[in-house]
């Protein structure tokens, strides 16, 4: 589905080099790494929001640079870490903006999309919220709304930049479960960056590790065996505990 080959991030100068990774259908992948290593940059580069230095990003065996923006949006959707909230913009209006490539010049929603938006809101547990002011939703609800928005965009791949940051534990678990469910039931590829390694190891099919010096990709067990997690914070005194799935 998605292939990264010798991808070097950055614009004028390389900020991260040689990423080789793959993501398939139904897969949920966690992107982990220290702060400031370039997780957001990687996700934004894949989403076509940001330019990258060199290498290739392929979707369905085609370089993303050969996709026109609207065609790329059919393949990929992106959930920013903190979307700005627009006052008095109803949840329905917020979610319906993602029908952008299917609506006419004025953005009129078709009846089919009406149903789609409602069933999606139901799926993320926001049925009955459609008419509410989206800016007044709680952080957890807003994150689910943003996920609903990318589901309505109806892309094969969904990229999320720290969807669980700023959330309490209950909301963190709700969101990650929801993502897992979406990957399984809707045949989507989900890639999200997170700092919650423990949880990621439990639910994700694959982990992408952006260490300071090296990029690893693989199934959780293999990565633990390879000692990839030790690499992530190798300059610090932290040790990875393979039973607790966390650093001590």
């Amino acid at each position: 589905m998605l292939i990264l080959e010798k991808l070097c991030l950055g614009y004028n100068k390389v900020i991260y080099r040689e990423i080789n990774a793959r993501a398939g259908k139904n897969e949920i992948i966690a992107l982990v790494g220290p702060n400031g290593v370039g997780k957001s940059t990687l996700l934004k580069s894949i989403a076509g929001i940001q330019k990258y230095h060199s290498g290739t990003i392929k979707i369905l065996n085609k370089d993303i640079r050969s996709y026109p923006p609207n065609k790329l949006a059919e393949q990929l959707s992106f959930v920013p870490s903190q979307s700005p909230r627009a006052k008095n913009f109803s949840l329905f209006d917020m979610v319906s903006t993602s029908c952008y490539n299917r609506t006419n010049w004025l953005g009129k929603i078709s009846e089919q999309d009406y149903d789609f938006i409602y069933s999606t809101l139901k799926k993320v547990g926001l049925d009955g919220f459609a008419g509410r002011d989206s800016s007044k939703l709680s952080d957890g609800e807003f994150q689910r709304a943003a996920i609903a928005r990318s589901l309505v965009q109806d892309s094969q791949i969904i990229l999320l930049d720290e969807p669980t940051a700023f959330l309490d534990i209950a909301n963190k678990i709700t969101i990650t479960r929801l993502l897992k469910e979406i990957a399984e039931q809707e045949n989507k590829t989900i890639i999200f960056s997170t700092h919650d390694l423990q949880h990621a190891l439990k639910i994700c099919d694959k982990i992408w590790i952006m260490g300071h010096s090296q990029f690893f990709s693989g199934e959780p067990e293999n990565l633990i065996e390879k000692g990839a997690f030790e690499q992530m914070f190798k300059d610090s005194s932290l040790k990875f505990d393979s039973k607790l799935f966390t650093y001590i």
Partner: protein, 356 residues
Amino acid sequence: MLYLFCTILGAGFHPAQIVKLKRSYYKEYAIIAILLLALVVLNLILGSVIIPVKDIVSTLLGHHTSDFVSDILFSLRIPKLITALMAGAALSICGLQMQTLFKNPLADPYILGISSGAGLGVAFFVMGVSAFGISMPSSLFFSLGIATSAWIGAFAITLLILLVSYRLKDNISLLIFGIMLGSAVSALISLFQYFSSTSALKVFVLWTMGSFTGLNPGQIWVMFFLILTGFALSVYNIKDLNTLLMGEAYAKSLGVNLEKTRRRILVATTLLAGSVTAFCGPIGFIGIAAPHIARLFFRNADHKVLIPATALLGAVIMVFADTAAQLSTPIIPINTVSALIGVPVILAIILKNRFV
């Protein structure tokens, strides 16, 4: 009808919910329309000469009343009213788009220095023309020259702000940049004024005070078509403006071509604000105030609702301001009245922190 639609849509949704979603704004629009109509009538009646309604009606219907009344109406109040309506709607829509584009509730053509840009263009033209000894303030050449130079000035400043906005992602910095740019441009204008002739200076100073009077039908038509084009472009911008509400990263991930969208908004605002400024002078504060009043009144951030609402409310405010200005003798410059209305609104926004 709505209920029928809900039942057809059916599939377990509560009709009340859909009714709420598909909320129509007939009531709000009707209130504004009635208000506008009342103000329009008042605007025609009131002034240094009060014309009774029955005289207005019979004159408008073509019955002969008195030459005096029809003269005031056709050569003074009606052209002025039409100009005020267009200016109010145009500046307000312009302000709305800039607020969304810059994600800044205080953005408007005046504060960001675009009107000063138009002023600089006009100063160049008026003083340049007078320097060459051509002085025909009412000729078509002169009025088109003012308009063209105002657009060029407005466009140049908007372009500069847009270029800087790529670098300055922070809205407050951009706002400060706009204000500084406006001051710099004003300084340049002062320099021009210092070196210009008395007659040119008078034309220019009168232009800066803002006025809806003195436009001949030809000029009104030119202004009408320019604003119509700007309005059409603004309506076309609605879809992209709505995606911009939720951040540029998201808009870009939807496949919105941000550069094109920015350019389209730029052209629309230049057409709208540039034309109004060209023909009526720099008129401040309406561009900020009207979109906020529309947001408060309609409680909806969707630009499909906001664009017509803002245009109507802008027209209402402008006609109100014009009527108020017209009541005094001698007539107060429109800029004074618009500031008196606009400033409290802006202060209220800051105090209540009612950001977009």
